[in-house]
Amino acid sequence: MADALEFVESEFGPIPVLNGRRLASKRKPLAEARSWVERQDRKCDEFIVFGFGAGFHIDELKKTKDAKSFLIFEINLEIAEFAKTKGYEVITNKEELLNIVEQSFKGGFQVLFHQASIQQHTEEYEEALFYLSGRNKEGLERALNRISLSLDSKREMENKIFLDRELVNYSKALPMDRNYNLLNVLAEILK
């Protein structure tokens, strides 16, 4: 079923209402956005924000010093258009997003969630999350290819393998490969 999107006006600008639910506070959207930024348990300095909403949280995130760079992922195309009017480029396709991530984020990254946005499309965002973070088979294949290790597709892989210390055994690599050794170090540390 297609999303029903409308906008309500507020003192701070238009607020999207998706399927009858406002994506930001009408009265105190800035305070809400600041609180969102503070709540994030940030472990990286490169982020992907899931959900544009009304964009106030993105404005706040931009102001923080430790957010070196970030990308925005939004499933709803109309909201993506709305983001453009506020001066933001928003990616709507998970494959395209991962391509950009792999080219521009040389190290790792973290996903931040705008709850009001993703509650409307939980399954789609979750699928994108697992794909991006390498926590499903396809995503893991992409991740390991990024460090030149190809997966043995004959082996059965489940989502749980990212917790499993046997991770490296799923990959085909020469023992003298630096990345193979690093993955083994990691597996030993996570034992």
Binding site: G108, Q110, R135, R146, M176, L182, L183, V185
Partner: protein, 548 residues
């Protein structure tokens, strides 16, 4: 000279190597950096000589690994950054102080020339150890042999250090000095992180009561971490009238207390390594999986008590299958209490009497540094001479092999022979009449072993094996079985040797292996060791009479 030490295992393993790192720095005037797990950073204050610390936050990595909002390669990139940082530092030496899978992979990931790395790693498609001593350590682990050397001596030799320096002055802060009692005292570490490695509180209390029968004067400090204090106070409340004080302290204070103590009594814990470099003797209870010969108290005149059991030491990973810990039951509280007193009094004659009395049940080992600075644990009690000589010949022979000396050049074993002679004169107090029959018997056995082992090695070599029929192999198999049945108990490496031979006969050994493969190397070393042991025995037997 800029050196990185890597210690990525347990805290005890790291503390054990503390004085080794200090001695290395003193000898080489090196800038020393250390890589450890972040959770052990609290021990940094014990290493004031370390110039810079690098850490891996294992707990953080574990957290990141389970968080779905984190990219699966986040930890990987962090590790990669760390490796790049280490490479960019241009270390003259990178030394791994732990020999495990993790250190092997970590060193393999480093892009560094072999002469700059000490530790097991893959380099240029082959395994490299950086030192024959580390290769020995690897072989001992792989073939489940028993090390002839203390771990510190293995690393000391690999690093070319002559000895570990003694620490005279700890340079303590005033607050730490104030916590050291003015009166004489002894320290006890009761707790361990493994149940099978220490006594119950009930038994410790008995030990203290027996000790108090002989010494009512000296204070007993029960060392513990601050979070253990309440438990210890409650457990020991009924014997607090026995001049006992529970002392919760950090590692620096514990070290200061041990340094000034008359004796430290402890099971196999990290605490015992705080005595290294001090003159405080340690009474070590080697229980459960504790391997005193590799990780025992590295101090002069310490004493190790170990149950005389076939299963001792057991595997670190395995739970004890017995209804109670027999290795603990066999070492009685009275024996420990009385031994504590005599040890503190340095009354070795009384300890020797105890060791003789309990010879069948409990092994008493006295630790010492031989003339060549190698640590040696000699068994006490009547009847221990043959066993000590075997261990001593074994250690000396491995030194010759690992120092890569010409094993056929008998003249050059003078130093080893001298070390053994001195031990016999100064420590074993053995008369030539006692010694001669022991050595003659030993040599006769070794000669038989030597000839037979050469024949076995020839028949088991990959090139010979391919030509053998099934019937021939069956005969060799029987010969091997008989040989080991006769000789198994004579040499601590033989069980590993036996396993290799059987594997070779059963065809598990790859026929395409070249002569320098690990298996062939171990087999050859065995043969050399037997030869050198026999030669040393001969040298001692011939001139011992003359010296006395």
């Amino acid at each position: 000279m800029k050196t990185l030490f890597i210690s990525l295992m347990r805290l005890g393993d790291f503390l054990m190597m503390r004085e080794l790192i200090r001695s290395y720095k003193q000898k080489n005037g090196a800038e020393v950096q250390v890589l450890i797990y972040k959770e052990f950073e609290f021990a940094k204050s014990l290493f004031p000589f370390v110039d810079h610390w690098i850490s891996i936050d294992r707990k953080e990595m574990q957290q990141v690994a389970v968080r779905k909002d984190q990219y699966i390669l986040n930890n990987f990139f962090e590790l990669e950054q760390l490796v790049q940082k280490i490479e960019s530092e241009n270390f003259d030496k990178v030394i791994s102080l732990t020999h495990n899978h993790l250190s092997h992979y970590f060193l393999s990931a480093l892009d560094m020339e072999p002469n700059r790395v000490i530790g097991s790693r893959v380099f240029d498609s082959a395994i490299d150890y950086g030192s024959p001593w580390i290769q020995y350590l690897n072989d001992i682990g792989s073939f489940e042999g028993v090390s002839a050397f203390h771990l510190i001596d293995i690393y000391r030799s690999a690093l070319g250090l002559n000895s570990i320096e003694t620490v005279e002055d700890l340079n303590l802060e005033e607050s730490t000095k104030a916590s050291i009692p003015q009166e004489e005292y002894i320290c006890i570490q009761m707790t361990s992180n493994e149940e099978k490695k220490t006594f119950s509180f009930g038994k410790w209390k008995e030990v203290i009561r027996y000790y108090r029968q002989l010494d009512s004067k000296r204070k007993i400090l029960c060392l513990c971490a601050p979070d253990e204090e309440a438990n210890l106070l409650s457990e020991l409340s009924d014997i607090s009238n026995l001049k006992l004080e529970v002392k919760a302290c950090d590692l620096v204070t514990a070290q200061a207390l041990i340094h000034n103590s008359r004796l430290l009594v402890t099971p196999d814990t990290a605490i015992k390594y705080l005595a290294i470099g001090s003159r405080t003797p340690v009474l070590e209870l080697s229980l459960g999986s504790s391997q005193y010969n590799q990780t025992g108290s590295y101090t002069e005149d310490s004493l190790v008590l170990q149950a005389n059991l076939k299963c001792s030491p057991c595997s670190h990973r395995l739970k004890c299958p017995n209804a109670s810990f027999i290795c603990q039951d066999m070492i009685g509280a009275d024996l420990v209490g009385y031994t504590m007193f005599h040890h503190m009094e340095k009354n070795w004659m009384a300890i020797d009497i105890l060791a003789s009395e309990f010879f069948e049940d409990v092994n008493f080992y006295r630790t010492e540094f031989l003339q060549n600075n190698f640590w040696f644990a000699s068994r006490l009690g009547e009847g221990a001479l043959a066993e000590n000589l075997k261990s001593m010949f074994h250690q000396a022979s491995w030194q010759v092999v690992l120092q890569e000396r010409n094993v056929e050049d008998w003249q050059r074993f003078d130093l080893e022979a001298q070390v053994i002679r001195r031990y016999l004169i100064e420590k074993a107090y053995t008369s030539p009449e006692n010694l001669r029959p022991v050595l003659e018997k030993f040599e006769a056995i070794l000669l038989g072993m030597e000839l037979e082992s050469e024949e076995l090695i020839r028949s088991l070599s990959p090139s010979a094996k391919t030509r053998k029929s099934i019937g021939d192999r069956e005969k060799i198999f029987q010969a091997v079985n008989m040989w080991f049945d006769r000789n198994r108990s004579l040499n601590q490496d033989l069980p590993a040797f036996e396993q290799l031979c059987i594997e070779a006969i059963q065809g598990e050994m790859d026929t395409g292996q070249h002569e320098d493969s690990a298996t062939c190397r171990v087999l050859d070393n065995m043969n050399h060791i037997i030869k050198i042991e026999r030669k040393l025995s001969e040298m001692i037997r011939i001139d011992y009479m003359e010296i006395l």
